[in-house]
Subunit: 353 residues, 4 copies
C-alpha cells in the first residue's frame, strides 16, 4: 500500500502536536505539510512550536517549514487533519474542501452541518455517506468530516449498546475533565491546583446536542436524530489526561445492571473486522474493580483509544448509573480524527494520487 | 454565662483535632478532657497526637493527659463530642449516655436509631425533642445526638428550601470529595495525585438514606421520613477541603431556575434569631459568577460553616440542576457537631452542673 | 491618629489584589485610589478586576473607579503602594516620586538604585535614610522605597543573625517556589501539575545580588555592600503559597548547628519595640520537628509575615545547612511593602496632610 | 540463548510490582517464582497483590502461587531479584545466598558490606569482581549484588564523567523527590498535596556515603573509596515519578560549564558496546532548553533508564552547578537491578542450569 501524504492544520497547537505524536510512525499516513498561523509560517517547525508533548519532537517534522493555512500551499497532500481553533476553522476548512482537499477535522465548526458526518467509527460508520451530499466541489473531491467533543466520545460509545438494545429515554451526567482539554496554556495553575471548577464554557451545549446526531439514523434525506433529553454539568479537575463521566440513564425497555453490563461487554463494534491501525481491540472495557476506571491508570489503555467503564449499578432514579472515562486528547480529539481517516481510507473516500 | 466543660472522644484523630481547633476560643465551651485509644491514654496530648492542623497545637490542650474513652474517666465534663471511629463508637457512646453524659457525635453509628436526632440546626431543629424518647438513663440525663454525613449536609441544606416550597420528587447527584474526608493518613498520595477515584466505600448508602430522616416530619411517634429517591455517585478528587456536589432535582410543584434561586436566597433559617456562636450569618450563599463555588476559594467562607451554591439552571431531565459545596470537616463534621451542641444549650438540653 | 490615604498602582494584578486584601482593615491606612492600565481606567474596580483572592472583594473597593496610573490623578493620597509590572514601573514610579507622592514599591526596577532603600524592616531599617539622597523632588517630598524579591526575604531574614554573629562567607541555595509567585494567569497548569520546573526566568540574578545590599552597611556615601558569593537554583513546584529554601552557608567565624540555632532564636529584631501593625511577633520561628516547616502548614503563620526555619544541621560542605520558608505574596511582596510603609510612618517619613 | 528463570522477593510491594512490569517481556529472564510475606504465601498473585501499576497485571504472573521468601521454595530459579523491605532483607537475602541462589537486590542492607558490589553498570562495572570475595557459599555459587539509593543513581551517573576528567572536591545537593519513592501506601495525600516536605527519613545518610563506594577504585583488597564531602537535603514534592536534583560541585581541576557539558556529552559508558537489553542508548542526556529536564516530561525517557541533565552553569560558590533527574523506581530501583543482572549475565556470573 502506498502511504498517503497528509497535512496538519493548526500544527503548533496542543491538538496539532498530538496529531504529530500519534502519526509519527503511522503505517498509512506520512506527514508532509504543517500549517499554522501567519506568525509561524515560514519558520521550521522546531522554532515555531512550543513543544509540550512528553516525547522529543520527532525529527521528521522538526525541520519542516511551517506553511500558511491556505489550500494553495497544500497541493502536495492527499488530505489534511485539522486541529484549528474554532475562531478560524470555518473559513479555512471550507477553503481546503473547496480546493478538493478533504478535511478530517477536530474543530466544532461543521459538526452541526447536516451534510457533514459527525463520526465515531464504532458508533455510526454509515454516516460517512453524508459526504456525498456535500457541495464544496462539483466533483465531490473536497469534503469535511468531524469528530465530536471529547466528553461526547465516551458518552456515545457507552450509550450506543444501550440505545441499540433498550432505547435511551434520558441521560444525566457530570463530567470531571482533565486540564489538557483546555489546550495550552489553557487553565491557570492558580485556578485548578487542589481545586474543582464547576464550569467549562461552551462544553455543556455540545454534550446536550452532539449525541443526538451520532446516535441518529442515516436516511436518504440525511440523519434522523435520536430524541432524548440530556442534562450535563461539566467540571474541571486537576488531572492531566482523561475525562471521567458519572452517567445516569433512563431506558425505554427496562433492563438491570447485569443486563446492561452484558450489553456493553457483548457489543460488537461494526468496524472490528476492518483492522484499522488505530482501532482499539476493545472499544469498551468494563472494569469489575469498583475503584476503576481512573484517569491516571487507564487513560492510556490501548494507546489512549479505549473507553473504560465501571460501577454499572441499578439506579434509584432513572434506571442505570455508571462511570466512563476516555483519553480526551487522544480518543476524544486527535486519535479519534485519525481513526476517522483510517475508516475513510478503508471505505475508499480517501486515497493517494 | 458559665462555660460548660466538655470532653472530646477520639481526640487524636483528624476529626478530634478539628474539634480542638474549632473549640480553642469557644465562648461557651472549655476543653476539659481528651479521650483516645489505650495506646494514647496516659500520655500528654502533645505526645499522643500526630498534629496535622495548619495552626500550632493550642497550648491549652498540649499538656492535657489523654484519658481512656470510658465514662468513669469523664465525670468532670458536662458533655462530650465524639469523633470516634465507627468501629468503636457504638459501645463507647452508649457507655457515656448510660452514665448520664450527653454525647454529641459525628460518628455514623446512631444516625439511623429512631430515637436519636440526626441534626442540622438550620434544617430540622425540632428533631431534638426525639431526645426525650431515649432510654439510656432513667432520668433522661444521658443521650446521643448525631450530625449527618459530610455530603449530606450541603445536600439537605440546599434541598430544604425546595422541599418546603415545592416538594422534592427525585435527586441525582455526583460528589467530588476532598481528601480530608478520609481522615489521616487516609488516601494514599499515589492513588489521588492528578487522579479521580470513582468510589468512596460506604458513602453512597448514607447519601441515599440520611436526607429522608433529616427532611422528615417530627410526630408524636417519631420522625415521619421524607419519601423520594436519591441516586448518588461519590468520587474522590485531589482537593484538600470542601466537597463539591453536582445535583439535579425533580420537584413536585414545578418551578424554574429563577424561582428556585429566589427560594434559596429568601429562605429563612429557623435558628437565625438565636445568635449561636458557630452559626453562619447566611447558611446558604448563592453565587452569581458561574465559575463559583470552588472548594479552594469558598470552603472557608463564614469560618467553614456556609454552604455555597452556584449554577442554578433549568434541567433537561428532572427540573433543576445546580452545584453545591461545603467544608467537609468543618460544616460537614466537627463544626456541625459544635453547632448542634450550641442549639442544645440554647434549648436547655445541655447545661453546666 | 489620623489615617493616611493611600493609592495602589497595578491594583488589578495579583500583587495589587493582595495589597487590597491585606489593607482592608488596616488601622493606619485607608484605600482611597486604585490605579491600573488604560484598559481598566474608568471602570469600577468590581468590573475591572478578575478577583482571585479567596475572600470576597471588600465592598469598600468594589465601587471605586479605577484611575490611570498618572500622578495627576492621585493628588488626594498621601502615598502609593506599587504592584506595577516591571515593564512599566520605571516611568510611572518616577512620575509619582517627582510629583511628590512617595512610592512604596514591590517592583524590581529601583531596587538597585544606589539612592533607593531595598528594605526589610527587621534586617536593615537604618537604610531608610537613603531616602534623603533621592532627587526626584527639590523638597524631598517624593521618593521611592522598595522591598526585595520574594526568595530574598526569607534568605536575608535568616542570614542576618548569622551575618551579625559570625559573618557570611558563602551561600548555596535551591528554592522550591510556589505558583502564586508568577502572578495570574502565571504558570500553566499543564506545565506544573505533578511536576517540577527547574527554571524561573530572571529569579536567580536577583537572589545573587539583592542580599548584598540588604546586608550592607549604611555609610555617609551610601550602602557599603556585603561581600560574599551566593549560588542559587530557583525551581517551581506545585504549591499554592510559600517559597521553600534549602540553604547551605559558610561562616567566617565557625559555629555549629546548635550555636546557629540559638543565634536565630535569640536574635532581636530591631523593630520589635515599635509595635508596627503588620510586624510579626517573631520574625523567625525555628521549628524543632524535622518535618517542618511546610508551605501548606506554615505559610500563613503570623498572618503570612513570619519566616519559618527548620532542620538546622552541621554541613559536610561549607558549615551550616537549613531550610527556610515564607509566604511569597505576603511577606515576600505586598505584606512586606506594607510593613515598609509602617516603618516609614513610625520614622516620620510618611505622614498625612 | 536459553532464558534464565528468575524469582522476585517482595513481589507484592511497589518495587516488586515494578520488577514484574519491567520483566514482563524480557528477552533473557522469565518470571518463575514470586515470594512475599506469610500473609500472601499460598495465594495466587492476583489475590495477594494490590496491583498499583498503570498497566493491567500481566497474565503470566496473575495465577502464580505466591511463595514464602525461603530459599528452599526457590530451587527452580537461577537467581532472584529482591525488592524486600529493609526490615527483613538482611536475613532473607543471606538465606538465599547461602543456598547458592544469587540475589540481585534493591534493598539497602548489604550496600555497605565491603564484599558486596554496589553497582551502576555505567559507573563501576568492574566492581562486580568483589563477588569473588563473598563467602556465603564454599563454591561461590551464592552471592549478593546491590544497586544504590534512587537519588544516588542520577548523582553518581553525572558525577562520574567529572570525577574521571577533573576530580570531585565537594558536592552540595538538594533533591526534590517523587512520592513513588516512598512505596505504597507511602506518603499520605494530606501531607503532600500542594506541599513540600523538607525531610525524607534515612535518605540523606545514603546520599552522603554511597557515592564514595560507587566512585571508588577496585583494588586487590577491595574498594578504595572516593573521598570528598557531600552535603544533601532531601525533600518530597507532589510528583509521581522522577527525582529532581539540584547539584553544585567543586572540582579538583578547574573547568568551566562548557567543558563540563562536553565532558558529560562525550562521556563513553563502559558498557555501551555490550548491547544489554535494558541499557539506555544514552545513559546521560544533556538538555539545552533551560526549562528541562522535568520529571513529568522526561522521567520515562529511554524507558525510564536515562539520567537527564540540564542547566549546567558556572557556580559562584564551588565550581559548577546543574540539575539532574532520573526515574526513581525504574532507573533508581527495579530497572537498575535488572540492568545489573544483565551485566552479570554478560560477564558470566549469572547463567542458567
Amino acid at each position: 500500500m502506498t502511504k498517503l501524504n497528509i497535512g496538519i492544520l493548526g500544527a503548533t497547537g496542543a491538538v496539532g502536536q498530538k496529531f504529530i505524536r500519534l502519526l509519527q510512525n503511522h503505517p498509512w499516513f506520512t506527514i508532509k505539510a504543517l500549517g499554522a498561523s501567519e506568525r509561524s509560517a515560514g519558520k521550521p517547525y522546531r522554532e515555531a512550536a512550543n513543544w509540550i508533548e512528553s516525547i522529543p519532537m520527532p525529527g521528521s517534522v522538526a525541520e519542516l517549514k511551517v506553511r500558511n493555512c491556505e489550500s494553495a500551499e497544500f497541493d502536495d497532500v492527499d488530505f489534511v487533519f485539522s486541529g484549528l481553533d474554532s475562531s478560524v476553522a470555518t473559513e479555512i476548512e471550507a477553503d481546503f474542501a473547496k480546493a478538493g482537499i478533504p478535511v478530517i477535522s477536530n474543530a466544532k465548526n461543521y459538526r452541526t452541518d447536516p451534510t457533514v458526518p459527525l463520526l465515531v467509527p464504532e458508533v455510526n460508520p454509515d454516516h460517512i455517506d453524508l459526504i456525498k451530499s456535500q457541495t464544496f466541489t462539483a466533483d465531490g473531491s473536497g469534503w469535511i468530516v468531524t469528530n465530536p467533543n471529547c466528553v461526547v466520545v465516551p458518552l456515545v460509545t457507552t450509550l450506543k449498546p444501550l440505545h441499540d438494545a433498550y432505547g435511551i429515554e434520558a441521560v444525566i451526567l457530570t463530567s470531571m475533565q482533565a486540564i489538557s482539554g483546555a489546550g495550552y496554556p489553557g487553565v491557570a495553575s492558580l485556578d485548578i491546583l487542589g481545586n474543582v471548577i464547576p464550569l467549562i464554557g461552551g462544553e455543556e451545549s455540545k454534550i446536550h446536542t452532539e449525541p443526538h446526531k451520532l446516535l441518529g439514523t442515516m436516511t436518504d434525506s440525511g440523519i434522523d436524530f435520536a430524541d432524548f433529553p440530556i442534562q450535563a454539568t461539566a467540571t474541571r479537575v486537576p488531572v492531566e489526561n482523561g475525562h471521567m463521566l458519572s452517567v445516569t440513564v433512563g431506558l425505554k425497555t427496562k433492563a438491570d445492571a447485569s443486563e446492561v453490563e452484558n450489553a456493553m461487554k457483548e457489543w460488537q463494534s461494526p468496524i472490528s473486522e476492518l483492522g484499522l491501525p488505530s482501532a482499539p481491540s476493545f472499544p469498551i472495557h468494563v472494569h469489575r474493580d469498583a475503584r476503576y476506571p481512573q484517569p491516571r491508570l487507564h487513560a492510556d489503555s490501548e494507546n489512549g483509544m479505549q473507553t473504560a467503564v465501571g460501577r454499572i449499578r441499578n439506579a434509584n432514579v432513572l434506571d442505570i448509573t455508571y462511570v466512563a472515562m476516555a483519553h480526551n486528547t487522544v480518543r476524544g480529539a486527535a486519535g479519534g480524527a485519525i481513526l476517522n481517516a483510517e475508516l475513510l481510507v478503508e471505505k475508499g473516500y480517501l486515497k493517494g494520487e
